[in-house]
Symmetry: C2
DNA sequence: CGAAAGTTGTTCGAATTCGAATCACCTGCT
DNA sequence: AGCAGGTGATTCGAATTCGAACAACTTTCG
């Protein structure tokens, strides 16, 4: 536990830019989605993930894992979305404990209304601020970073003495 | 409001990498700080910001603006930090309404204990996953993006007819 | 001066988050 | 079969978040 390598100027610049962008972007996207279609960014994320899934439905845990969220947080949000008629729960036949969250027609329609504006804002605030080279560097670099974190997460090997 | 330019593969790859990294990193840093020194990432951020300030003190609004946080959120967190003895409020002599949040000795000491581990984790999870070129691209690209968002924010020109 | 308008920080209520505990159920092993 | 341990989803309480409303003060300008 010696003195760790501090961040040099360039590293600090990258780190601060990353944190600032992350915070500002999250706030803006959330705000726009709210006044646009009445969804939080997280709720949009859930619906978006479901849109991509086979049949517009996923098991709760699978959905929770694919999002940032904890399982209890997902239970709450899916309940909210269900109240709003955008998602419907369905029992799982293979495993009685299991629950599917399935996109409703209304949910799909809302996504079609929400997506263009959302994508446009992502483009305006982030993508269009980047050169093509920067875009590639970010895709590669952050892709690698997130892959590492995800891989680490799955190594929960129990050491049973 | 025609069909907006969708994201192409490369853009999508960058966007997803960014979102994933942002979420995973935030979670990990928060978790480590909590078990290391009992601070949330936000609280650490507040103390870090104060450390850099002249005399270890800042006005509440200035502090709130420099962080992501809303003013009410800051009031809450500073109260928490004050309870923990890491920060102390002080009245502002120039403006009676004003309040300074000032780092205490204890707060400064805690930061000295917290910083090395925090920096080490930032390095491990993000910095060390990037090549030097990627680091520079991120610093430049995301720096530009965050600068644009901040600039936009300050243009709240009232249109008084 | 002195009223109108803007700032500053806090308080309030509602919504959201998390982790721990819980209950019901599946799986593997003997 | 039957038990031990693991898994899936929910519920609960505590902590945190936000925006709107507020009170106190400052600034601006006629």
């Amino acid at each position: 536990m010696t003195d760790p390598r501090w961040l040099d100027d360039e590293e600090m610049r990258a780190w601060q830019a990353f944190v600032a962008t992350s915070a500002l972007l999250e706030r803006r996207l959330d705000q726009q989605l709210r006044e646009d279609v009445g969804l939080s960014h997280l709720q949009y994320g859930i619906l978006a993930r479901l849109s991509l899934a086979e049949g517009g439905a996923m098991r709760m845990t699978e959905l929770a894992d694919s999002m940032l969220n904890s399982k209890s947080g997902l239970t709450y949000q899916v309940s909210q979305l269900e109240k709003a008629g955008l998602v419907q729960r369905a029992p799982c036949t293979i495993d009685v404990r299991g629950v599917y969250a399935a996109l409703t027609d209304e949910g799909r329609q809302l996504m079609q209304r929400a997506a263009p504006g959302h994508v446009a804002l992502v483009r305006e605030l982030l993508i269009d601020a980047l050169t093509r080279d920067q875009l590639t560097a970010i895709a590669d670099g952050l892709g690698e970073a997130s892959r590492r974190m995800l891989a680490e997460q799955e190594c929960a090997q129990p050491t049973t003495p």
